[in-house]
Structures are given as structure tokens and as C-alpha cells.
Homo-oligomer: 107 residues x 2
Amino acid sequence: MSSYHPPREELALPAVLHALSDPQRLRIVRELSLDPEPRPCGSFLLDVSKSTKTHHFRVLREAGMITQREVGTSKLTSLRREDLDQRFPGLLDAVLASAETPVAVPA
Amino acid sequence: MSSYHPPREELALPAVLHALSDPQRLRIVRELSLDPEPRPCGSFLLDVSKSTKTHHFRVLREAGMITQREVGTSKLTSLRREDLDQRFPGLLDAVLASAETPVAVPA
DNA sequence: CACGTTGTTTGATGATCGTCGTACAATTGA
DNA sequence: TCAATTGTACGACGATCATCAAACAACGTG
């Protein structure tokens, strides 16, 4: 019962951009890029419920941005950096760099 | 009755990524980047209705990706490349380069 | 075995999205 | 002045989205 991971050639730009356009998911990707060690979903500090977390990880996986590998009761998540870099060179880095820029608060 | 254009400092990454995650809007941005000359909305060949076109241009404008300047009955649209490049360096170029890669069709 | 941990599934809710057609407004040109 | 052009406004529609709680499943440990 392993979940679907799209092969590299099928990664679609709109899906990737949509996956990255949610703040929670952007945070997940960001954390994963800072610490590339595969981590269980639960180790990500998001202020959403468990089921919402599951939802976001599915969106990221189906967009081809992460891999999820079952180990015991956990599911180790890692970033598909190589696939992303090959398919969309420079994109992930640009997004991650942009994500570090603080958002200006309107006065 | 001029429409709202967010100042550069307020451009938000999620909004920009969301704006780019729609194929029609991505096409608009792509055409604008190839031909930076300000163009009326109607000159973009999208297979959607007039009102849908208006909608997409509004999303792009409110995300801070384009400027719209009224000239007669037309509205000249141009890409806010400088603002985007300053706020999110490399992002637009990476997206545009990625957009040129053909999407693989599943067998 | 029983319990805690980890994550999924299901069903629901309210919001947003992409799309359309119709009607309208404003400008240009005959 | 009348008509064509260019774009917006207004609903409306079905689809998708982000979110939640509750129930469930699988694994590990006491």
C-alpha cells in the first residue's frame, strides 16, 4: 500500500508552484532543505491538526517534491532535491532564497 | 478609479507562487517576458472568455506581478520585472526557464 | 496483552478558485 | 450620433482547497 510518487519526467510546474504557494507547505520544504536528513512527519512543527498535516504531505508528494518511506509506524520524509533541480533548474533554490526574505507588514 | 498595485515591499511569496501556478497566468507572464512592450489585455491569446481574462489579470496585478495602465479603452499591461527581481532574486527567471521545459505526457 | 505513538481515512464545513454569460461603461471612429 | 472595440462588474456554477474532529490501523514497548 505504498503511496504514489510521480517519476521525475512527470513533475509539472503548475503543481509544484501550487504546492509551494501554501505557507505551511513552504515551511515544510524549507525545513527539509535546511536539514536534509529524512524525518518523520510528526517532527515538523506546524500549527495545524494531524489530518491537515497528512493532507499537506500528500500534496507535496503528489507534486513530486518529497518522498515518503515507511519505517515502522513513522513515515520518513525527504526532499527530492535532485529530481527538482534536474527538472526545474534553479527553481527550488530561488524559492528558498525568496522565502527567507521577511514579509513586509502593511502599515 | 485606478486599481490597486501593491508596493514592492509588500509582494508576498505565497501570492506570487499562487499567481504563477495557473497555466493561463503563467502563459501571460511568459508572453510578457518575451515581449516586454506594454500590451493591451486583449492581445494575449488565451482560450478563456473575456471575463475570465479580466480575472487572471487582476490576480496577477494584486500579486504584484504586473502593472496595468489605462490608455483610452485599453489597459496596457507590463511585467514588474524590476520589483520582482529585487524582491525575489532569481525567482522569475527560474520559473520562466522551467516553463520552457515541455511537460512529459504519462504513457 | 494493553497502551502509547504515528499517521491515514472519512466526512464535514466554509472559503476560495476558475470559469462562464450577460449586462454595463468608456473610448474611438465612421 | 451610432456602432464597434476594450475591458469591468455581477452573479452564478461546480470544483478544489485548507481545515478540523473522530475513528481507525499499524507498530513498538511496557
